[in-house]
Symmetry: C2
């Protein structure tokens, strides 16, 4: 708070100056006392100055007894997963009541390194949504693949002192922490050096392994899957997040672990939410709503989504409706059935009404991070799958999850060992083509459970290194699809019989677009329908999201990186042939 604002607020409270705005007759959700009180709220310079001051205001709004809740704080998200640029992400989530997000841009940093971090910082600077960033701690996610960049502690140090950078993003490298990997230790040391925060990521970690992880200074987790896991982590000092993303949904499973006694250490987050989910269900407010509809006290739920996050991340200028805080708030007709704001105010300005944005964030030139495609010598030949045996390893897709099973089977082969597609079996070819450094790397494997009858699907969203991943029954369509993505600088595309069915261009690092959320939602809907009806992809899976996780070598069991087929259970590469 600068000097002038401090003095202005005092003047308004003391009745010596007019407020910019007064909201009359609101029922304030008091997150400090878990209660509600009726008052007027005087706003000046984008901040809350006082209640019932009796002073004047340049503008008045009669809230007619609506509830006033603090703006929601999404404690952990990856904006890239929405396919939207930060301004368009703001336009999408603000109408749903999210006024602050803590975003880890590790997707774009895996592609573009510090250029991506710089872009996310600048593109999110002057938009209604408050975006705080965590500097990604694990780029690349593993040493078993080629990402676009390697971010070291010394890179983090260039940015971590920025006041909008709250610390290091999710430390996924649990083995690196508990085995005291030198570079990981150097990153953790930034916490004390710059008085910052380190987010965790510790799925299923418990017992003394969890103690070691927490001892290192990491104190949040958004990967809990059971109430027992949540309870242990809270008891050991972690802030635990209830995540409700498009893919990962933990609110309902975790809710039985939340009670009035431990709730102060529990937050909400979205992690990854796509534009269609945001439009149809909501953003952070959807997780809060789910919790309320399943029995969590609405005031407590709102407190968890506001004050708790502000305490966890030391965002002391927000998270409550009280004097001296930012005037980021929601007006709500109802809180008993969910959190869908009638009006959203940010810094005292009305920015959305009826869950529609009224003040749009302006776009930002994605300049340096546009395209970023560096593929060397790609040809049909790179898609070759030639094995010395007809008994091979096969990646088994698990519908509804990102874990794969270890399958095996017998295949038809050409004389030279080249795989031949068998129309009677749901086994397709998967290929990953390195796209960052022009290494010319490409690898292939077989995959079961995708359901596609004929054609190819390719995408540059392939966690976490985001190389090109392509699936198909024939090399021609696969080649066309890959060439299309190279040509447009990234996106998602589908080919059949040499014909492009539809393409979603993701010009920002192959991950995001400058299109609006509505446009993206509609594009993805159409593409899903084409994938199901024209390509025959199984309706039990999401054709694009499932594909995008098949290259992620931190989630069991078989995954394919640009280097080859990887057995996550043994943490080693394996041959296709058995």
């Amino acid at each position: 708070m600068d000097k002038k604002i401090r003095e202005d607020l005092i003047d308004v409270a003391m009745g010596r100056a007019d407020a910019d705005l007064v909201i009359r007759n609101v029922n304030v959700i008091d997150v400090y006392s878990q209660s509600i009180f009726n008052t007027d709220v005087y706003i000046k310079d984008g901040m809350i100055a006082s209640f019932k001051s009796g002073g004047k205001a340049l503008k008045e709004i009669d809230a007619e007894g609506m509830y006033m809740a603090p703006g929601l704080i999404d404690a952990h998200c990856h904006i890239e997963s929405s396919h939207l640029s930060p301004p368009e992400y703001s336009n999408a989530v603000v109408p749903m009541g999210t006024t602050t997000v803590i975003a880890d841009p590790h997707e774009i940093c895996n592609v573009t390194g510090l250029d991506g971090f710089e872009y996310m910082l600048r593109a999110s600077e002057n938009i209604p949504l408050s975006v705080f960033l965590m500097f990604p701690s694990c780029v690349p996610a593993t040493p078993f693949e080629h990402s676009g960049a390697t971010l070291l502690a010394e890179d983090a140090e260039k940015y971590i002192r920025d006041e909008r950078v709250l610390g290091l993003g999710e430390m996924m490298n649990y083995p690196g922490v508990v085995n005291k990997d030198k570079e990981v230790m150097a990153k953790l040391a930034l916490k004390e050096k710059w008085n910052k925060h380190i987010d965790g990521h510790a799925p299923s970690v418990s017992g003394s392994g969890l103690d070691g992880y927490i001892s290192s200074g990491i104190n949040t987790d958004h990967e809990c899957e059971t109430p027992e896991e949540l309870r242990e982590k809270v008891s050991k000092g972690m802030y635990v997040m209830l995540r409700e993303g498009t893919a990962c949904k933990n609110v309902l499973p975790l809710l039985p672990g939340v009670d009035e006694k431990n709730a102060r250490r529990i937050l909400f987050c979205t992690d990854d939410r796509q534009p269609g989910s945001i439009r149809d269900e909501g953003a952070l407010n959807y997780g809060v709503t789910l919790a309320i509809r399943n029995g969590l006290d609405p005031i407590l739920a709102i407190t968890m989504a506001t004050l708790n996050a502000s305490e966890c991340y030391h965002l002391e200028d927000r998270g409550a409706i009280s004097p001296g805080k930012r005037a980021d708030f929601l007006l709500l007709k109802d809180i008993k059935n969910g959190i869908y704001p009638e009006k959203v105010f940010i810094k005292g300005e009305l920015v959305a009404e009826g869950q529609k944005i009224s003040t749009r964030a302006k776009g930002y030139d994605s300049g340096k991070v546009t395209g970023r495609m560096n593929v060397k010598d790609f040809s049909r030949q790179k898609l070759s799958y030639k094995v010395p045996s007809d008994h091979v390893r096969i990646i088994g897709i698990t519908p509804g999850g990102v874990v794969t099973s270890k399958k095996e089977g017998y295949i038809k082969r050409e004389k030279d060992g080249e795989w031949v597609h068998d129309k009677e079996k749901d086994v397709l070819k998967l290929a990953v083509i390195e796209r960052h450094h022009g290494t010319g790397n490409a690898s292939t494997a077989l995959i079961e459970g995708y359901g596609m009858k004929h054609g190819a699907v390719a995408t540059t969203i392939a966690h976490d290194s985001h190389n090109i991943i392509v699936i198909g029954d024939n090399d021609d369509d696969m080649m066309f699809a890959v060439e299309k993505l190279i040509d447009i600088g990234g996106g998602i595309t589908m080919f059949k019989d040499g014909k492009e069915l539809m393409t979603h261009t993701l010009e920002i690092a192959g991950l995001m677009t400058n299109d609006t959320a509505d446009e993206v939602a509609k594009t993805l809907e159409k593409m899903h329908e084409i994938a199901y009806s024209e390509l025959g992809v199984s309706r039990a899976i999401d054709p694009f999201m499932t594909l995008s996780f098949m290259a992620l070598p931190v989630i069991p069991s078989y995954k394919l990186t640009d280097v080859g087929l990887f057995d996550v259970d043994t943490f080693s590469f394996v041959e296709n042939a058995l």
Copy 2:
């Protein structure tokens, strides 16, 4: 946490290295979840490494199922009020379970300015008790008296960046805040500049005046007197402290305002506690005990005295029993009837047992702040009380409080107007003699309700400027008493018929001594008894504490400063004669 400690803790948790100590079979008070769990606690390098790790430890203690609570954090105190040096204060409060205090050294700073702050910082540096300091915000407390120093924002800036200085101490200048006094605004701006904290002091302030005060960035208060006041302050974003001092006792009056819903914003503090109270009742644990005995859930009470304070002041390395936190903890046989620790550990070392200190803090040379007595031209003549009328204003003592009443009466006078003591009336002479700058200032007034029959009592503890204050029925004893204090460099003394009855030397700035708490408690007990039995002071009051508040011009109604008789209600000086 430095690099080596982080790695050591991980090694212990992972069973790769021996712990320094394991406490087996403890029932940990889990302040995060408001519950209790039985475990072993492994300690390394003074920190908690893990629970039930199964690893080895160089030393074992079987706690036999005792409770383990985090060390208590006293959220606001003035060490000077104990008359003890910081090391002796540590020796006194640590056995009672206080392991961290947030101390505002405004008493010694009123006498010795930055020398006093430096002394408190250094004398509290290498002792078992963790002492964090707040830089005093209001020295002098008012412009109506001469203190030993004036501390400006630029002085604060020299110290506020120190990691043991958490911010600015209690901002008592409420009018200065809401009227935007330039110097006050400069001090408040340090909050953002150095990312620090500003403590409040807002007795009875409410409504929009409170909003203005809070808008300025102040977010604690330890002066609440009613549950309604507490509730309003919490709802508006303040952390409210339940204070249980030797003089001011707010735990029981405030307790009805505390419930499970607002408790996370409520802390405990002592403000001012004397050695006898600490020995007989306890330190911070006494307030916690009172709350428990009067119905507050013991786990919640412990949480308020630990985690809440650590959250409020961002002391993230303490306040709970969890991996990565300091091993500051108490072992307790019982929590249902109060908090009296069997054993106290600080940084993993046993420092007290059976409420007796076992590892004493070493003394610190008070060098520069010893003595500090600069009185010019003191003589019997300075005690003269000469008025042009026999109808005069009289300060009325209120037993049990520090507020005085405005009295008036008719007195006997000499021909030259000089007051003559009337043995039939309980009216005595009060004088304040400036002792810091050799101004030669002295002033006199009459006072009713002290009860003394014959003699004089003088002290250099006279809030907040700590000039010499003396009370008596005759100028000779008063003169002897003042001369004695000048001679020894400060303290408390009593004279009768020219004879010194007893003296308590306070060689550190006239406020503190290097004596132990036991010695001070015994000295004060003896002196109280002499004051009551030999001087006839009313047993309804504390002879020394009451006297020490008669010069404090921020508490109504009549007070005497070195400049003259002050009417706090009208904030102006008044004549003695009516």
